[in-house]
């Protein structure tokens, strides 16, 4: 049962055309050059965004920043693997996936500036659901959604059948909710892929505290087929997630993917990783940078300096645009407090809203 994680690209960026990879190589082979280049574009642009947002936080523009540095391959590979009709349930670090699904990164900025709790409409944003901060709770929402797909009837057409992709971390695997979502998913044979980004840390707690056995095995105990991949290999992330989603859709039941990756930055801008982890560990992972690896792969296939320069340009533009738009953000109106607490009218809310308005008015022009 303990086998090596699936890896299609060696750390130095060569395609590994081994027997063991026979199932996945054809999936990669179907990708056009433009698609492969897009993998790089997505990774590089989101990393630049990440850096910019970190800067904005340090400059007091954001209450908090949650870096995704180092996890770009796991996120971009799996995010691109999802088909348009699929529904994606993130945790809170999946900025790359958000962008791939069509969420304006400013929505994440607004959330972490303290302007809203998310608030985008998943249906209008690539079926990308809201960030969820209570660890693990989104896995049940994802499973419920996938139950709904199953109840709405089997399909038969992979181009149209829907599936669900849900993200969570190594720390989250300890939460009861995550286990219960595996129970429900197995029981209802939901069209769903559980995508675990094992970035080796839950804030300061190493994954060894959460589990002494590889986490992909967790799902096997619930009767869910499971596989471990090198999460810093964007091609493995793509091929395995693509296959798993297509296997899951149309009633064949859930799948589980554990992507081994690393959070190269702090947990959040409030965190100081030097308190709990070695320089050496970080060095190791810096040497396994997912973007560097894939760039080597692309260069070996002949991608030009011009391409990388163009991506660099695009990333810089996004960063500048995000900065411009962030500093221009205005605080929400005070009565936003009362908006959408309920969908139907509610007397307590109306009364309190009216009170606040009258109170604010009592300060005259000050309000």
């Amino acid at each position: 049962m303990a086998s090596d994680p699936i890896r299609l690209l060696s750390p130095s960026g060569e395609l590994i055309e081994s027997e063991a990879n026979a199932a996945w190589l054809p999936v990669v082979a179907e990708l056009s050059e433009a698609q492969l280049m897009d993998f790089h574009r997505q990774m590089a642009v989101i990393r630049r965004f990440d850096v910019e947002a970190g800067n904005l936080q340090r400059q007091g523009q954001l209450a908090l920043w949650i870096p995704s540095l180092g996890q770009e391959a796991a996120q971009v590979g799996s995010g691109i693997a999802a088909r348009p009709q699929d529904h994606v349930f993130p945790a809170y670090r999946e900025h790359a996936v958000a962008r791939i699904r069509g969420v304006d990164p400013m929505r994440i900025i607004e959330l972490l500036r303290g302007l809203d709790h998310g608030g985008w409409d998943p249906k209008a944003h690539g079926n990308f659901h809201l960030y969820t901060l209570v660890i693990g709770s989104q896995t049940l929402h994802a499973t419920g959604y996938a139950m709904g797909i199953a109840f709405d009837g089997p399909g038969g057409d992979p181009e149209r059948d829907e599936a669900v992709l849900v993200y969570f971390g190594d720390g989250a695997t300890s939460q009861g909710d995550v286990s219960e979502s595996l129970v429900f998913a197995a029981s209802y044979q939901t069209p769903q892929v559980f995508f675990l980004q094992n970035n080796h840390w839950a804030i300061s707690v190493p994954v060894s505290t959460q589990s002494r056995t590889p986490l992909y095995r967790r799902a096997l105990g619930f009767g869910i087929p499971s596989i471990q991949i090198d999460g810093n290999d964007v091609l493995a992330a793509y091929a395995v997630t693509r296959t798993a989603l297509d296997e899951a859709r149309g009633g064949k039941g859930p799948r589980f993917v554990e992507a081994l990756t690393y959070r190269m930055g702090a947990h959040t801008s409030s965190d100081d990783p030097s308190k709990y982890r070695d320089e050496a560990e970080l060095e190791h992972w810096i040497a396994h940078d997912p973007i560097v690896r894939f760039e080597a792969f692309l260069r070996a296939r002949g991608a030009s300096d011009a391409f990388f320069a163009e991506v660099h340009e695009e990333a810089e533009e996004l960063a500048a645009d995000v900065r411009r738009r962030t500093v221009a953000l205005v605080p929400p109106p005070v009565t936003k407090i009362f908006d959408h607490v309920y969908t139907d009218p509610h007397p307590d809310i109306e009364e309190q809203r009216a009170w606040l308005l009258a109170y604010e008015a009592s300060f005259g022009g000050q309000a």
């Binding site: 998310g118 139950m147 709904g148 009861g176 429900f184 029981s187 139907d344 007397p347």
Partner: protein, 360 residues
Amino acid sequence: MTPENQAGGLGTSASPAIDLRDPASGGPEDGSSPRGVQTLTMARALNEGLRAALGADDRVLLMGEDIGTLGGVFRVTEGLKAEFGDRRVLDTPLAESGLVGTAIGLAMRGFRPVVEIQFDGFVYPAFDQITSQLAKQTYRHAGSQAFPVVIRIPYGGHIGAVEHHQESPEAYFAHTPGLRVVSPATPHDAYWMIQEAIAGNDPVVFLEPKSRYWPKGEVDLDRAGAGLHESRIVRRGADVTLIGHGAMVATLLDAAELAEQEGTSAEVVDLRSLSPIDYGPILDSVRRTGRAVVVQEAPQRVSVGSEIAATIAERAFYSLQSPVLRVSGYDTPFPPAKLEGVYLPDADRILEAVDRALAY
């Protein structure tokens, strides 16, 4: 008053004389042909209400432990799986957080899940999903989608059951913004309120007073008579206002009857909704009587009764001739069944409070 002679009192008010229908009214509210008045138990009325909701909207789903093949441990969902199939009436795995969490996901897909929690004391494993997820989803989504999930909870005492089977958890939910909390006291209200809860667009915690599942009452199948969140004066009186919900309404009516014999005229308000609370009839009544006693099975500290007492004292300040008194379960865990008669408010304890109020 010992536990033994208390126990006998439980069945005394099989069907309180509440007039269900607005005398000024004619046929059904929706103009369809009248179906008349039937005498049903509350369990049966809920069953009929759920059947009607399942029939009216094929996005309505029932989910829970043992609600399908068995029909629920109280038989409230009896026959519904057979009628609507196992994709509309789900016997789920045994996990309450999973139950509510997946219901949220189903609501995101456009379903209207109605979740049964088997007993009051088993709702707590789902507490995060109810209060931190379900209650906040609409707000978090800035209204881009609604979360019409109903959580049905058979609640309260009087059935002599073991630990965790007789609790009254309403305070936890009534404190939580984003939830609505209601509780019917009669088969008629049960029939209508469950349908309104399901038809509404917000999460509703629907508290079913389990000791009232079996007494029969008249159900007007043609008109609800009151909205989901309206409180109702169910007995007129002049000297004191008695306020309660669920199984306590029958107890209040018993108490009012006894008070009458002692020359005190008590008005009785059935809260029906605990969040929001409809203070119109309550304040109207207290302004007339000048005195109020709030009664509940739940522990007293930081309870719905506390909220009502505080609000009456604030809003009817000049009308009150005595402090608002509360009669509640004691601030202890729900005791062993043989002591429930001591723990739960009964007509005697209510009358004791009435006497104290009148003595001011």
